[in-house]
Amino acid sequence: MDIFEEIRALSEKYPDRRGALLHALYVAQKDAGWLSQEALNTVSNALNLPQATVKGVATFYSMYKHRPMGRHLIQLCTNVACMIMGAESLVDFLKGKYGVEPGGTTGDGRFSLVIMECIGACDRAPAMLVDTDFHSDLTEDNIVEIIEEYK
């Protein structure tokens, strides 16, 4: 099923088309990892919602990306608890190890790094998400191990 069809099908489950928008944007982002103008356009057509409205919503939420992303997305929390537990040095560590700046992507297109606000795992700080997988109690050693699982 292509994205258009998939969005059409999922919109059936919502009482109105607007309600389906966030879900539809996830679907549109699934393959490429980000939302191009064409992807937004597909969402707009599939839900028969104005393009500008779709763009407004898509740019409001930080989980939607508007630039090409690496194959995997590392979302590292640096909020208070994680910061105290050393998240900031992990950022520097990743930069040294993989050459990736916050908001950037590795040269080989393997990872993108995004700094997150609290993800609700303060008791096991520092914490991060890689794609949709949750990882906690990070150190310089285990973070490499975890990341190397993602090719």
Binding site: Q37, L40, P50, A52, T53, K55, G56, T59, F60
Partner: protein, 856 residues
Amino acid sequence: MIKVTIDGREVELENPVTVLEAAKQAGVIIPTLCYFEGLTPFGGCRLCLVEVEKLPRLQTSCTIMTADGMVVRTETDQIKAARRSILEFLLINHPLDCPFCDKAGECDLQDLVALYGPEAGRFAEGKRRHPESFDDPIIVRNMERCVLCTRCVRMCDGPQGAYAISVTGRGSHSFVEPFSGGKYNCEYCGNCLTVCPVGAIMSRLHRHSYRPWFVEKEIETVCGFCGVGCSMVLQMRENSIIRAIPRAGVGFNKGLLCVRGRFGYENVESEEQLTTPLMKVDGDLKPVSWEEAITFITESLKEIKDAFGGKAIGAVASGRCTNEDNYMLQKFIRFVLGSNNIDSSARNYYAPAEAYLERIFGQGITANLISGIANSDGVFVVGGDPTAINPILGLQIRASCRGGGKIIALGAPGGLKRFVAYELMPTPYSEEIILSAIVGRLLKGKALSGENTTVEAKLRSLKIPSDEDLGMTGISSEDIVRASDDLAGMATPVVVIGPDIIQRERASKNLARIFLLSERPNYQGVMDMGCLPDFLPGGRPVELEMFRHQIEGALGLKAPQDKGLTLFEMINEAETGGLKALYVMGENPLFNIPDSAKVKKALGNLDLLVVQDVHLTETSGIADVVLPATAWPEKEGTFTNLERRVQRVRKARRGRMASYGRDDWKIIADIAERFGMTKQYLRVEDVWEEITHVSALHTGLGYEDIAEGKAVWPYCGKPLRGMEGDFSVEGLDGLPRIRGSKKPYLMIERSLYHSGTFSRRSKALLSIYPEPYLMINPLLSERLGLAEGEKARISNERGVLELKVKLNEDVSDSQVFLSNTFEGAGAMGLIGFGIDSVIGSLYIKDNTVRVEKVRV
């Protein structure tokens, strides 16, 4: 009854309103920034904060509703301090580049800061940067100045219904953007510019060319682009129009304009404006004096009249000229030269459709108020996209939808795409069958009301299509049932009829209020002034002696008793040599009526072709004499819009060379005088005065009444009632044959951005829609091997054109669309026409074209 005290003043309110509105009634002005009358309240800027007794915090007066016993204070020290802080926050990111900003002087932010301070901000962090965007030809976007009031978005998503812009991003990274991020690609109504309180979105047309305090005078007039007739203000400096703007509270357009009205004015300042009379000498047009030109015309017309009689002379009136102009032309041709051969391009559809409807239902059937559409619970749109042809009327249909009305379209819904409940897309030329089927079903379910038996009898003689007939239309009988039931279920239905419907339009008065879309500002006036071969001023039939004698008596002049030739009949007669002279006022027949090759041949055959126009056109290019006329903002007079409201047009500027272009009516009166017309007209008021004596419709209607907006149908005159019995309506018992064709049909694209040939001289409109293109469905383009932007050749025996292809999914794949705007590339030229035997209107015959790819 609700009693509220605001700053010590008591107000009594029938219904709960917001505190802000109640304050206004009490004469208390509360400062606002995100509030704008007519837009949904937002409560975002917090400037309208007020103290309400018994409520703990300051409240936003634009959102809080009044309740009985409320005590409100609007200017306490606490409030002032709050406003001051809010403004300080707003200024954190505001560039304060007022000396460089076109808005300075009429900027709400500037005014508010002047009122409440602060004189300096305390933030040292530096301002957000966002470069000014010049990606769009019309709108300059400077998001550093944006205060995020969202008035523009609420305008675009609300009254305008274009949904072209949105707030993107979040927090201090929020900006207002069109989808592309650069070019707007929107309807370019500019209504967002009206509501922006600051200089964040500005018109590029007059960028840095004025300051608001440069405006020397403001002329309240009506737009000269289409039959809606929106009120607008032309702001002038010396003889130039600085801006065309709407004025809230003036006119039924309620502060809205469309792209043509707002940005199209530049064409009247075009360099190509004629400045002197021209006469053909040895095949070329050469400048001559007025005296020479008028003497020549007079002598030639005299010769022709003496040799062949008045019948050999004809005239074409203009939907772009005023009632006074058209009346004078009619008087000259009919009462001075003795010919009823007068018609206009309203013959293309407007005139016959209205005449037909009036024959069934009586005069005035199409005179309904546009503002009423928004309150109706259903609209049936047939044969055209109102949001492109008559945009402000189109907005009313969108409003009806927002209010819960059901919109049904027969044909492509165009700008109503997001608003229609559904559309019926029949195969080309089968619309009439669909309409007959719908009317048939509606009548079946309805008992005779006995109210208007003639009408009902006529409608009952309609041939109702069988299922087999329907088979060819591509519309199923279930669709018909659904549409008919929906229509029958509407309590206050509206029917909007556009130019693309086959002219034999049928509808029932008991069924609906009818609106006829009008591409020109004054088609209705052309008709009411008697610029029709069969009707005298006031819509009185020429052939009925009683009426003719009345008018002859009023004028002391005689008119011929037989009806004259229609526009198409005149073309035919010119071709065969029966018509010798044609006087064309403000019209371009060579471009605006079908089959240019035939028209060119016919006009070339005339002994005398006089063209009176603002610019040199295709037709004036082959004329014997060309007379320069004044353009719409240069003249005084009246237009009658499609709801039959008479409105004043006002002179804003004098011609580039004030002594050159002359008013159409004046030129004609001059010539008529040389034929012995004794009546003298000093001012345009004198012409109107005569009209009110001659036309029974306009009796007693003075310019003062019109200025006060009282000139709404049926004025104080006498519409013809009970005419139904006088006319038979033929052709109700047959159905058209559907002409199947493998080749696509060439249709006229009626674009929002253009208005016939008038707009091709507007820089602004051209910057949006710069060159002709052929609009085709992607399915068809695939079959033809044509991609977007490639060149296609379209041809038939009437001609060949080469055009860029533009894809559009919303058009049918058996049709291709081309505008009739650009020189050398008008759709009309390739369309063949016939004349409908029943109502004398043009019907399109053979408009198929071969479409192929141009190989390079």
